[in-house]
């Protein structure tokens, strides 16, 4: 997983320390800590993981192991409009792959990446519970159903103003 290096500010560290403290620095709460921290920073860069490891008194390798195991966690910042394409069974059989390919082509990025202007990021997820609308695409909080590859351009244009 690629990562960008940042310098943490003192108040960034305080934010992480506070989150860890709210879970009593309990190593078993790692996943909850990561959730809250990602909510705060938008992503989990290496340095943030180091501070978490130090607080919970666990190895950095272990934190990294958990971050890479769950697709929800990300080490690169999400775009202003995060795009999630459902590749669950129903969406997949109804052509989610083709929609995904079209997205990649339009945005010129791969899954897990963010466009250079920071506007869009692309990720896949497994089932949003709206199989009747398959294939489903979510952009931010907005849900698009029965998306065909030829709709992609139009959908993206909605966010481009």
């Amino acid at each position: 997983m690629s990562s960008i290096h940042i310098k943490l500010k003192e108040n960034d560290c305080k934010a992480i320390n506070d989150i860890c403290q709210s879970f009593n620095n309990e190593p078993g709460e790692l996943i909850n800590v990561l959730h809250k921290t990602q909510e705060h920073f938008g992503y989990l860069p290496a340095e943030v993981q180091e501070v978490i490891a130090q607080n919970l008194n666990i190895s950095i390798a272990k934190v990294y192991g958990v971050v890479t195991f769950y697709s929800f966690f990300t080490m690169s910042p999400k775009g202003q409009f995060p795009i999630s394409i459902c590749t669950g069974t129903a969406c997949y059989v109804r052509g989610a792959e083709k929609v995904l390919d079209e997205m990649k082509k339009e945005l010129k990025i791969n899954v897990g990446e963010t466009t250079a202007d920071g506007k869009f990021s692309l990720s896949c997820l497994r089932c949003v519970g709206a199989c009747g609308l398959a294939p489903v695409v979510m952009i931010g909080d907005k849900t698009f159903g029965r998306v065909a590859p030829e709709d992609v351009k139009k959908i993206l244009a909605e966010f481009s103003s």
Binding site: M1, H5, E10, E50, S59, G65, T68, F69
Partner: protein, 590 residues
Amino acid sequence: MSLINIKINGKDVQVEAGKTILQAAKQIGIEIPTLCYMNLHDLNIEHNPGGCRICVVEVAGRRNLAPACVTKVTEGMEVKTHTMRVLNARKTVMELILSDHPFECLTCAKNGTCDLQKLAQDLGVREIHYQGEQTTYKEDNSPSIIRDMDKCIMCRRCETMCNDVQTCGVLNGINRGFYSVVATAFEQDIIKSPCTFCGQCVAVCPTGALTERDYTNRVIRALADPEKTVIVQTAPAVRVALGEEFGMEPGTIVTGKMVSALRKIGFDKVYDTDFTADLTIMEEGTELLGRLTKFLNGDKDVKLPLLTSCCPAWVNFLEYQFPEMKDIPSTAKSPQQMFGAVAKTYIAEKLGVSRENLVVVSIMPCLAKKYEAQREEFSVDGNPDVDFALSTRELAHLIKQSIGDIKDLEDEDFDKLMGQSTGAAVIFGNTGGVIEAACRTAYEIYTKKKLEKVEFEQLRGLEGVRSAVVDFDGLKLNLGIAHGLGNARKLLEQIKSGEANFHAIEIMACPGGCIGGGGQPLHHGDSSIIKARAAAIYREDEGKAIRKSHENPEIITLYEEFLGQPMSEKAHELLHTEYFDKKKIIYIEK
């Protein structure tokens, strides 16, 4: 303890509640094949992630096959360990494991000692019906360890050693599914991690995923160079393990044959690291007595306990994990580095060779010694004191490719000047040995009396953390011993909190001490081998005419001719070092 009745292959067995099918079967002599499973019971290490599924067995009334290493026995259970269904399943599991494994067996460093290879052979796998995608990870080269993760089968034994036993926290499983692999934090090269290079991960890796950096060819090149004088030193633990690589019983002592082999291979001089182990005792023992005297005279700033500093993985551990304590260890260099420093000055002069043309090779039971040899502070103008450190396994390869076998060789003696050693030096290979050797010398210097019984039985054993009181004629010394870095951590935490009150502590990074080192012949999880090596070390000690370091005639000569006194200016320059704060820095902007 309540007993449970079960049937294995139609045979009635009574086993303790809480045991697994694997343990129950072993009890009646039925071996179930395993791969990811590892049990070093004397060291209290059991690793059973139930991940590989090689150990599956049939349990009556159960729909699917049960992994024997994690399935607990229940009353009335009926187990069959080698039905057709079981054998087929094991073969299929093996084929699937092999479906993304590189087929480089003939040129792989683990060829012949690979658990995966042996198991495939045992299971009779002759064909692989599945062809899968293969991973292509970048090979990670460090001075000590090479990680070739394409060969990783995710048994995760290395993680248990790194995290639970050694508490280094370098390795962890990352990603999921096909992409899951054992890696360092952020998949950095291992040299950038807090890895101590103890090599315990390498020692338990069942495949060629983790191996040592092999310097054999560089040594061969040096031996072939007419300009170079190549000398070699051999660590205490090598002589009680090398024989295993040639089919001898664990615990066979092959000192004389090893010397003979090294001479036949072409080393110009064959010296002994045991000699510098004696030298270490002279320096470290003097340092200990110096600190003790200051302490007894009421000096409050004196650094106690004195920690031994022979083990390079332990030194790395301290520098990464407890840098605030870097002033406590003895400043004495390890025997390997003392040898290098003396060889490239004293011996170079004696042999009439320049430093540049003198190549010092060491044979070590250890992988961290390779890293230690490359530390910048152990070189002069870019020329290292020790040029190449080979493991016991590499020496075996070097012997096999050059002269074949050692079995029929006549015993020979080490060369003069740095070849004589005492029983005190030999026991450096065992946990508790360094501190015992130090006691033998320090006792006589402190009390000015002859030590009648040289064995300090209270310092011996395989318990992970031990403590003992040694009586120096009224002065009661509190001594601590830890082997395995997890145990070392426990002792260090006690010192930090002020809970423990020791005068001196011996720490060795590997379970059992150097005899269980990461560079030794693979013991494949059989701890009786480690015990046999330990017993051999004590036998070798008993067989020595001189058993106290300060009585070694060559040591006495070295001080007379070259060094002056222990802790002299010259000794300081050549035989002592300092430690550094290597805590990994977190990127925080102030």
